[in-house]
């Protein structure tokens, strides 16, 4: 399995709040469901949660700013 599955998984949990919450509730099963390799599952099991949550907030603010600029 290519690391592209991991990139897709990260993109989803960075952007999608529900996906992120589900992942934080049950990291292994969500990672396995996404088709990640054993090594990738192990890596996301120990994901930097502080960074993940701060990144999600930052991205949400950027999207809101972008959206309001477009209106």
């Amino acid at each position: 399995m290519s690391v592209s599955a991991l990139e897709a998984f990260l993109a989803r949990i960075y952007v999608d709040q529900k996906a992120r919450e589900k992942f934080l509730e049950n990291r292994d099963s969500e990672a396995v469901k996404a088709g990640l390799s054993a090594g990738e599952v192990e890596a996301v099991r120990h994901i930097d949660q502080v960074g993940l949550e701060l990144l999600a907030v930052s991205l949400e603010r950027k999207r809101q700013k972008h959206h309001s600029k477009r209106r």
């Binding site: 897709a8 993109a11 701060l54 991205l59 950027k62």
Partner: protein
């Protein structure tokens, strides 16, 4: 499509600002103190012919460097050829001094992240990035400078530290480094490493561009991170890093101050550029003195 960018050889350091509409009047009335401007290429992705002509006119007034934000070069996924064709066309129209992109991924599995994300620092993303850089070179005709990104999250599945991952990409491609010193500074504080170690890992002659910016702390006291938001003045430690880069490199750097909002007066920004000139000059002087000492010893 291969195009020629401006082949003007820059032997002296050049100092400029990121082109933003709010700064346009201030920039155009101070071209004696600004050597170049950096234009966000993506802003012209769906621009009208009139807007593109305005950019060409700007390029006749001040040298331009083009900066991309949405290619997603640092990914195991191939970069979109249509976006590269667009960059090639813009380079052909504007004849910039150079063009650049980030070492980031910006989408995955059909999801647009909407900003720059640090990819897992592993051999697969190095290989993917190198393939994307080759494609970019083949289509645009000039290799992009590549920029290190700031990140709030320590990218999972990384078996390289940031310095060695970037160094591996630079060393195996035609791309030089656009070294964003605030991104480096923020990452060093957020993930507890010495930014000088990063700088010493990069071949000095491959550092061709510098970005300067500011940021702010976000998060709770015991779990905070420095966010590179481009809304604040350049902090002192970033000038210290710039001096260090000056001491290690030859003249010819393109130094860009990026400011995306909460704009201060143009004088304040020009003062920061002046401070950047002095930091590099100090570094260069330090390097000369050290060389003389070595010769005398």
């Amino acid at each position: 499509m291969a195009v020629e960018v401006n082949k003007m050889t820059i032997r002296k350091d050049c100092f400029g600002l990121g082109w933003r509409p709010q700064l346009a009047a201030g920039i155009l009335s101070n071209l004696d103190r600004i050597d170049l401007v950096e234009v966000i290429a993506d802003d012209f992705f769906s621009a009208s012919r009139h807007e593109r002509r305005a950019l060409q006119t700007l390029a006749t007034q001040v040298p331009i460097t083009l900066h991309g934000v949405s290619l997603g070069l640092a990914s195991s996924v191939p970069v979109n050829r249509r976006r590269l064709d667009f960059i090639a066309r813009l380079c052909e129209e504007v004849k910039p001094l150079s063009w650049s992109e980030h070492l980031a991924f910006v989408r995955g599995g059909g999801v647009e992240i909407g900003h720059l994300a640090a990819p897992p620092r592993c051999s697969e993303t190095i290989d993917g990035t190198l393939s994307n850089l080759t494609l970019a070179y083949n289509i645009v005709g000039v290799a992009p400078q590549v920029e290190n990104v700031a990140t709030l999250i320590d990218p999972p599945y990384s078996d390289y530290d940031e310095g060695s991952w970037v160094s591996e990409i630079i060393s195996n491609s035609k791309s030089d480094l656009l070294l964003d010193l605030h991104n480096l500074y923020a990452n060093s504080l957020n993930f507890d490493f010495n930014p000088l170690d990063f700088i010493s890992q990069i071949p000095a002659d491959r550092v061709q561009g510098i970005h300067l910016a500011g940021g702010k702390w976000v998060g709770r006291a015991n779990a905070r991170r420095l966010l590179d938001d481009h809304l604040h003045d350049v902090p002192d430690p970033v000038y210290a890093l710039l001096e260090e880069v000056g001491a290690r490199t030859e003249p010819g750097l393109m130094v860009i101050l990026e400011r995306d909002g909460d704009f201060p007066s143009i004088e304040t920004l020009l003062d920061q550029l002046e401070r950047a000139r002095r930091a590099i000059a100090r570094g260069r002087m330090r390097s000369k003195i050290n060389l003389r000492r070595e010769d005398a010893a």
